[in-house]
Amino acid sequence: MTETFPPPGFIPTASAIPGIAVYAPAPEEAEALPEIIEFKCPQCQAMTAYSVADGGLRCTYCGYYEPPTRTIVGKSAQEFEFTVETLAVASQAHGWGEARQEVQCQNCNARATLPPGRLTHTCPFCGSNRVLQQDAPQDGLRPRFLIPFKIEADACGPIAQKWLGSSWMVPKALKQKALAGFTGIYLPYWTFDAVTQAEWKAEVGHRETRRRYNSSTKSWESHTVTVWRWESGRVRKFFDDLLVPGTAKISRVLLNTLQDYDTQALVAYEPQYLAGFLAQAYDIQLEKAWEEGREAMRDATRSACRGQASTSQIRNFSMALDFSEESWRYVLAPVYMAVYQYNGQPYQMMVNGQTGAIAGQRPVDWNKVWLVVGAVAAPGVLLTLVGLLALILGMVLPPALGAAAVLLVPGVVLLIIGGIIAFSIVNKARRMDDV
């Protein structure tokens, strides 16, 4: 028993029976978040912003530094269950933020109208950094954790330059172009944990060689048959921090390329981390994202079940799958986004703010591509044409038929190989600017 009563941190709570006093732990005091937090240097009143290099707030004018107050929580970051109440809150959040919100800069009094879902704002007139706390949509499910930026904005230019230079299809002029204007933005992600337990059964085919006596040829012959046998098994898979994007406003193709985030680096949410960056609230609801997460989990579990079969020949496959220990988190993950122009066309580019992985659209120098396609296809085309000529000549001069055969066979082979390579080159070039 505790020696002091009530123990520290306990407060009286309602009791349903007279004569019995009940004390419960005091609820964690909800931080009284100011509607807007402005980051001003306490020394020179200039603006401060999150410094990727230092991991805290830094004044770029006087060098003042304020270290972060939160530590890395990693995978131990609190996870939430899919309670009926949580799902109700999540569904009520739907449709928030349709109205745009207006903020007034407390530094220069400039007014700005923000689109729904924006959590941060930098005044375009005085450069004041601010983080919006209360008017953010889905306040009921505000982000509790984030992955801080590890890559500095200045490092994005060389990364992009290297990436553009890595493909021979990119126009030469673009490879030498200095790329800048990378904007750091925190994107919303849902992380999901779950255990899947599946029982499966299927008919699995086994190739067997059998010998039989052929009475007409009076000899033993071998033939191969597929023998189908029922097999069954159980699979238990644990999914840890499956990431599902929380926004539909960014290309899913680009996000899927970038989303290899390490959740070991998760820190508790603190407005400091957002200072100087943009941040986006989620617009894909929890339930919809969880549906996507479940699809990925069940497909992975199905693959694991099929992988247990003794051969890859499977038919009449069926399985029953139960989810358990499901939990979720709403986190923010860092990316740098940039748009560059080429021949008057805009191209998107994104850099993973944690790992430096890059994805985006790249313009294609189609002249170069067709030249290469022509060069690849040319040997096959030429040999085939010469072979055909030799064939025609062979009708008049039969000895030429032998030469025609010698030319036609490798010609057709080279034509087919060249065609396949040319097709893949064109296909790859077409995908270069997909989003």
Binding site: Y23, A24, V84
Partner: protein, 359 residues
């Protein structure tokens, strides 16, 4: 003799020389056979009865709600359906030996002041999913709600009074309650002299001080349940408290029981008990292996005689051939009857393998 006077009728304190159980018996009813061990008759206590503890009359009595007729009916049910039952295990014998009896039990009232701490559990629902897949029809999803418990710490203070917390007055109380079931205490009425007209009374062998070791956990269980309700929780665990008790008041309550017995193969008395309130019967129903073996022996003897006759017919068949057939058939029949001798023993053995039946 002041405490004995409280019984309001002329009573005798008796003891069983065999099992040492003590009873209060109306003078008019003595002598009686001990309704516990049934080994011998109860004898008057020769020592100075004033030195015996707990002679006071009880404050409360739970009356017999199962009357003699119903008890007889339950005894008949108990004694029926036993193959090769011991000769003594028949309804008439059991009914003739029925002895109504009251068992003592302590009830304690008390006030408690305590600080307590526990983990209380609140039920909440989570949404989960079950999926089915088949090659033909693809995925089918079913949403399911599961109830889970969220445990939270609570501490508190308690000032409550608890009434009628039960504490055994007999060392064998738990075993007896397990045998005949629990009693509902709400039907108890004040003791009157008429109580002893129907039954004798077993005297407690546990003082309130000794019974307190059982009463204290009962107080804790009652307090734990009340603290759960006070916290508005669905569950409670790891309840700990530091109680200070006051105003304890002990009451003696009598519980009704019918006791009878039968003698088994070895001549040992086997008790049969009937809860005087609920009518639940406890007793060992066993087949008599002696009777089964005797029946088997009779069958074997019949088979042997038949076999002998068949043998004679067979020998005579050497002279009169048709008798050879009669001898052969007789031999087969004798063998079948002989094999049938195992049946009584097997039935008795199989019946005795069953656990004790509570009706």
């Amino acid at each position: 003799m002041s405490e004995l006077a409280g019984w309001e009728t002329e009573v005798l304190i008796t003891v069983c020389p065999q099992c040492d159980w003590r009873y209060i018996v109306p003078v008019a009813k003595a002598p009686l056979r001990c309704p516990h061990c049934f080994a011998t008759n109860l004898e008057p206590v020769t020592e100075d009865v004033e030195k015996l503890p707990y002679l006071r009359p009880p404050e409360l009595v739970t009356p017999f709600t199962v009357n003699k007729t119903t008890a007889d009916h339950r005894i008949t049910e108990f004694a029926s359906g036993i193959p090769y039952a011991p000769r003594d295990l028949n309804p008439e014998m059991l009914r003739s030996r029925v002895q109504p009896l009251y068992l003592p039990m302590w009830l304690v009232d008390g006030d408690v002041a305590a600080t307590w701490e526990a983990e209380v559990g609140f039920d909440y629902n989570v949404v989960s999913h079950q999926e089915r897949y088949s090659d033909g029809s693809g995925w089918a999803t079913r949403e399911v709600e599961e109830t889970r418990i969220r445990w939270e710490p609570r501490v508190g203070q308690l000032e409550r009074g608890y009434d009628n917390v039960v504490a055994p007055a007999l060392e064998q109380h738990a075993a007896l309650e397990k045998a005949v079931g629990a009693y509902k205490l709400g039907d108890a009425a004040a003791y009157t002299a008429g109580t002893l007209e129907t039954a004798i009374v077993r005297l407690p062998d546990r003082a309130p001080e000794a019974a307190w070791t059982d009463a204290a956990p009962a107080f804790q269980a009652a307090a734990s349940e009340e603290c759960r309700q006070a916290a508005g929780a669905d569950h409670i665990r790891q309840f700990r408290w530091s109680p200070a008790y006051a105003g304890q008041n002990w009451t003696l309550l009598l519980l009704p029981l019918y006791a009878t017995y039968y003698l088994d193969d070895e001549g040992q008395p086997r008790p049969v008990l009937i809860n005087g309130q609920s009518g639940r019967v406890y007793g060992v129903r066993r087949a008599s292996m002696q009777r089964a073996q005797r029946t088997a022996l009779i069958i074997v003897a019949v088979a042997a005689i038949l076999f002998l006759l068949s043998l004679i017919a067979g020998v005579a068949g050497l002279a009169v051939p048709p008798l050879l057939v009669v001898g052969g058939i007789g031999g087969v029949v004798a063998l079948c009857i002989g094999l049938g001798a195992i049946i009584p023993i097997f039935r008795a053995w199989q019946f005795n393998r069953k656990p004790i039946e509570i009706l």
